[in-house]
Symmetry: C2
Subunit: 332 residues, 2 copies
Amino acid sequence: MELRHQVAVTLAEVAEAAGVGESTVSRVLRSHGSFSDKTRERVMAAVERLGYVPNRIAGTLASAGSRLVAFVIPSLSNIVFPDVLRGASAVLEENRHQAVFAVTDYDPQKEEALVASMLAWRPAAVVLAGCEHTEGTAKMLRASGCRIVELLDLDGEALDIAVGFSNRAAGHASAEFLLTRGYRRIGYVGHDLIRDTRAGKRFKSFCETLGMHDVPLVDREIVAGASSVENGQVGLEQLLARTPALDAVYFSNDDMALGGYFHCLARGIHIPSRLALFGYNGLDIGRVTPQPLSTVRTPRVATGRVAAQLIVENAPSQIVDLGFELIEGATA
Amino acid sequence: MELRHQVAVTLAEVAEAAGVGESTVSRVLRSHGSFSDKTRERVMAAVERLGYVPNRIAGTLASAGSRLVAFVIPSLSNIVFPDVLRGASAVLEENRHQAVFAVTDYDPQKEEALVASMLAWRPAAVVLAGCEHTEGTAKMLRASGCRIVELLDLDGEALDIAVGFSNRAAGHASAEFLLTRGYRRIGYVGHDLIRDTRAGKRFKSFCETLGMHDVPLVDREIVAGASSVENGQVGLEQLLARTPALDAVYFSNDDMALGGYFHCLARGIHIPSRLALFGYNGLDIGRVTPQPLSTVRTPRVATGRVAAQLIVENAPSQIVDLGFELIEGATA
DNA sequence: ATGAAAGCGCTAACAT
DNA sequence: ATGTTAGCGCTTTCAT
């Protein structure tokens, strides 16, 4: 690994080798401005021969126009965010932009620190989850002059661009669905609702909708820790131990609901006649379980894609509601 | 959004406002070199007042030492890679490094293009999956002078640092396990083995081990498309339609195995007495299914963490074998 | 069509 | 302890 210390080839060296000026090399490399075919060939030959790799750090500094897009996301364990990144990175790569990311663990203070850190890269845009941020985060972002994209939560004030759907509407639709199916003794199994504000909004709206129909939520179980299949299992087990006479359970998301589903399978609790289960997210796996999971499918990849598209075309401030889809499934 | 066009505060302006020289501001901000307490206070006050955010683009260019770490990964759908990123990003954030990423879709040509693109950011390290790369990729990487970290596959030549385990050993262990349990009519359900070379290595070694015991693989079903729960379902269904008399099936990974498991649950195929199932990865969800999935658990998060640690401490070239764990489970 | 030269905002000697 | 200055490698006027 002696090569490690070698010095990178610079544009000046390419210019020298090609016998042209630096600006000519720059023009050729970016196909910008004018130059003769012969010049281009000589430059490209030199680039090839020297193995020149342009230094984008220098380029960005000189042109004051960054093609970096910073993602400050709550988690990588929750499949939602890899899905969003997937949609976004495809579009960004096509448009010669570059994704940078950092993980907040659902901590607003950490989000603030990471946004500050990201801003130091002078990104073209900062992409965040939701519209709940600290004062400091919002202030920095507004002062930065870069585009701000908030994803997956339209229930609040957007700073610039927002792409996603309404979690309140999702919670509402879920409650209406269960009520329409005739369920009246409904419980809830969820994870930390303070940190995951979007899950909190769904739950709140879910309860309000039940209330409007004079069907109070019978019981709830909030597990410690992040959402996971295992926690869904444990949560449902504890909920049922305390309140056996439920006819339906709403989960904070599909991971949790799958845990509940497995619990029922293992215990021989018949679904949905004895107990109905309803999730959120519409994960692929929920379509393949012996009984497809009843849930709300969210446009995660599309959210990333649309967000990236708006960024690369420097679209005006706007709110894009991508909606969601209620999946009837067979568990409710 | 009129703020968008505002010009960022520079270090020079902070220096001016604080009535000190530029280098003093730089020293204070990086807590490097010496300065009086009084000076520090004045500088910090100015920073606060002006809302100064250091420009890391300029800083990196000037100091020729990048804290960027570039991840060029095959996929974000396969949970393996979000897991690796998760482990890595935690360590990188603690050490003031920054993760950048791009997705290859398991395409070596695309990997080459993305590596070239990443190198333009002059990262401290480039992190790749596996040790199979195009000539061009390897050449560029070696010529770049930056650290190279290859993950999740120790069965090959490492360019610089490699962290992970042996897929061949995993395939071998899986076969030995099934044989020890007495299974003799074994099939395989997998996805594209050309693109996912690590799955290919596991399968090859699996077959070789069976062969060493004179137990040929009875049949295999390679589904079109990426690995997924749904494809695992479909794959097993087709395999059994063609070759019903199997007593065990090895899957390319847990996603596929879960699909197979659901298929059996739905069809009332008793597990493991009628058919045994064996996966790969050790996903959390496999621990919570009514019968825990028999599989090999891989150290995905740890792989990311160790890789990041070696990068931040600029460790010497080395191979780190993190091993894997065979999970007996209840499906085989 | 091409080159010269002035930055971009910072860091790192080198002075003082 | 602090200021001055010369770059880092590129892009971008502005000449020619």
